[in-house]
């Protein structure tokens, strides 16, 4: 095979991998949107918050250390212990569930029946609140997250692909991050688990009922409010997974919350109401971005990765507003 073709394959594979990462965030959006009709802008910040909490628990940071130091003039920062990753993850999960419960109690309950756009703006407010809260709690410095997932390029794959190239061409093999492969596997497991959960459990059936029709679900005795807590908890769990993946890849820092913005075009492409749509939309955006950077980028000066996804989404919106797999938008008067 010629090196050009191998480069193409490498780009596609790496695009697919980063697409999986987008899908992880988009998944959380879809879950909440289906169950409560809320477009949760704060999903990315939830991922950031989960990752911050995880690192904080793992390294035994004292929450609100900066604030306590500022008020009482103390010098505390760490408890002096380190938790194993599994315990820290469980602890973070508890925090995310508690967050879902508090958010439902304090905010969602009062915003029932408001227009979607008001709810959307409320989640923008939530994003800001959570960002400030997370930074206040754990500090805003860049942290490294290590839960034991290996990372770095795969030498084995490099050696294998080197033999594919034509004799005599100076091709040095493909670079693939092992972490990305793990992320892809975890994403697949997550989707299977979520699908199984919504198909085969009582709660899952209730979730689907609420997604189909709020009023009908309520009339057969499903409590909307507890469903919301469950959905936001699951979204918190998905955010935690996304936070672990993105955090181990590029460190836990503010830019993590910006992946939420990248997930928006993914959703438009895949449709707001479809879980497979979120996955496939993510893959398309991931591959499209990388290929566009490779082939169109040089023509217009590069760095088009920032907006390419949005423009694709924009064009898509004009022709198929409901996305690839979404339910058709019907307006009733």
């Amino acid at each position: 095979m010629s090196p050009e073709f191998l480069y193409f394959i490498e780009t596609v594979i790496n695009g697919l991998m980063s697409g999986v990462m987008y899908s992880l965030v988009a998944l959380g959006f879809v879950l909440i949107f289906k169950a409560s009709g809320i477009f949760n802008f704060a999903q990315g910040v939830m991922a950031l918050f989960a990752a911050l909490t995880l690192v904080g628990l793992q390294t035994g940071q004292v929450p609100f250390a900066h604030l306590i130091n500022a008020i009482f003039g103390t010098e505390i920062h760490h408890f002096g212990w380190e938790l194993p990753a599994a315990v820290a993850i469980a602890g973070t999960l508890v925090v995310m569930v508690a967050f879902a419960w508090i958010f439902e109690k304090l905010v969602l309950k009062h915003l029932v029946n408001q227009e979607p756009i008001i709810l959307f703006m409320a989640t923008i407010g939530l994003a800001y609140f959570l960002e400030g809260f997370g930074d206040l709690m754990w500090g805003s410095d860049v942290k490294t997250l290590n839960v034991g997932i290996p990372s770095g390029g795969s030498f084995w794959w490099e050696d294998v692909t080197k033999t594919w190239a034509a004799e005599g061409s100076d091709y040095f093999g493909m670079y693939i991050d092992v972490l990305d492969v793990y992320a892809a596997v975890i994403a697949v497991i997550l989707v299977i688990a979520l699908t199984a959960f919504s198909q085969y459990t009582r709660t899952g059936r209730a979730l689907r009922a609420v997604a189909d029709d709020h009023q009908a679900a309520q009339s057969v005795g499903i409590s909307l409010r507890s469903i919301w807590v469950i959905v936001w908890s699951i979204a918190g769990f998905v955010a935690l997974v996304a936070g672990i993946m993105w955090g181990s890849k590029s460190g836990v820092q503010f830019s993590l919350s910006l992946i939420a913005l990248k997930a928006l075009p993914v959703l438009i492409l895949g449709g707001f109401t479809s879980i497979p749509g979120a996955i496939i939309g993510g893959l398309i955006i991931g591959v499209g971005e990388k290929l566009a950077e490779l082939y169109i980028g040089p023509l217009v000066g590069g760095a088009i990765e920032n907006w390419f996804a949005y423009v694709v989404a924009l064009v898509f919106l004009l022709f198929r507003p409901q996305g690839l797999f979404g339910e058709k938008i019907i307006e009733r008067v």
């Binding site: 900066h66 604030l67 609140f129 400030g132 930074d135 206040l136 590069g302 919106l317």
Partner: protein, 364 residues
């Protein structure tokens, strides 16, 4: 007493639509304007050393952001189209202003600013086209495309910043009646007066636009687009004109932001997505669909961080980073709180206060 009237004696539509229906309110308004236009510049001119901080940190940001919030309020508050592309449109205004100022050195700065508003209006209509097919947060995503694309464009193509090595644009000195209003030698009181005059004129235009035929068509579109269409409001005209007018204001705001307020700007830093959110917050906190709300919201978002910094950093001695986190958190919490308690924002609170004052001290 202020805010008292003896009953509701409106017999014409014009009287009903009056901006300041009560005489004492009109007097209050003109007194405030007299202070803003005459007393403030004199005061700032008399104390040149202290005035720089006041103008640069409080007055100019307030005036410029009010202009931007007015623009966004026309689009989001009056026409119901959510936009997250404000930062990008501000950048269009700023760069148009820069290109005009450097290409035509003799052109008056006021004309430059208004023309850059017109350029932005054109760009706004272009990015408003998707609004004819989509709405709600779908549209918000479409405007995000504008935000990222425009910032990228101004960053990538050196023509926009005249091939300067740093990628920065710097406002050259321009004068009005021989007094420098842009550039490093500008007098604080002069920049203040210029920004105030522009804002006053265009706020007056905005108020009259929104209560006229075009404004009513926007509001009909916002309240229920299908019903409006059946009544004969053309969605094409209503939505695109809202995008055009809103972008015009935001573009002028961006031009003022760059030329009068900052003096120099780098596109990714000065016109990032956080500016879009700031503007949206101003509109929500101030009050959707209210001219007064744009001013209240801008004042709040500009003054609140300064207030927190003074109290927490200077008063309590907390580190700057902690104060900043607090500020983000409180603004976010406040957005949620206001959406729950008072979705119409500070302007509605003001309206309610006036109602209460009318009945005070004997409410039914």
């Amino acid at each position: 007493m202020l805010y008292r009237e003896a009953g509701d004696f409106k017999s014409t539509y014009a009287a009903d639509q009056q901006t300041f229906p009560i005489r004492s309110e009109r007097m209050l308004f003109w007194m405030a304007m007299a202070v803003a236009f005459i007393a403030m510049p004199l005061l700032l001119g008399a104390y040149p050393e202290g005035s720089t901080y006041w103008v640069k940190a409080i007055l100019l940001p307030f005036l410029v952001w009010s202009m931007i919030a007015l623009g966004l309020n026309i689009l989001t508050g009056y026409c119901g189209q959510v936009s997250l592309g404000t930062g990008g449109f501000m950048a269009v205004g700023a760069f148009a202003c820069y290109k005009l100022m450097t290409a035509f050195p003799d052109l008056n700065i006021v004309i430059c600013i208004v023309l850059s508003g017109a350029v932005t209006a054109g760009v706004g209509v272009l990015f408003g086209l998707p609004s004819l097919r989509i709405k709600g947060f779908y549209l918000a995503v479409a405007t995000l495309a504008a935000q990222f694309f425009l910032v990228w464009m101004f960053n990538k193509f050196a023509w926009f910043y005249n091939y300067s090595a740093s990628g920065q644009i710097t406002a050259p000195e321009r004068t009005i009646l021989g007094i420098a209003v842009t550039g490093p030698n500008s007098a604080p009181w002069a920049t203040y007066l210029l920004a105030l005059t522009l804002l006053f004129a265009f706020a007056w235009v905005a108020r009259n636009l929104t209560r006229g035929r075009i404004g009513r068509s926007w509001m009909a579109m916002r309240d229920m687009d299908i019903a409006a269409e059946i009544m004969g409001v053309s969605p094409l005209q209503a939505k695109l004109s809202a995008f055009a007018v809103s972008s015009f204001y935001i573009g002028m705001g961006g031009a003022m932001f760059f030329s009068i307020y900052l003096g120099a700007a780098e596109v990714t830093e000065a016109f990032g997505i956080d500016k879009s959110f700031d503007a949206l917050f101003m509109v929500i906190i101030g009050g959707l669909g209210s001219i007064l709300g744009a001013f209240l919201g801008a004042g709040f978002i500009v003054l609140f961080p300064i207030f927190l910094t003074v109290v927490m950093r200077d008063g309590l001695g907390w580190p700057t980073a902690t104060v900043e986190h607090f500020q983000i958190m409180i603004v976010g919490g406040l957005i949620i709180f206001l959406l729950i308690v008072e979705p119409h924002g500070l302007a509605q609170l003001w309206r309610l206060t006036k109602e209460k004052l009318r009945l005070w001290p004997f409410p039914y």
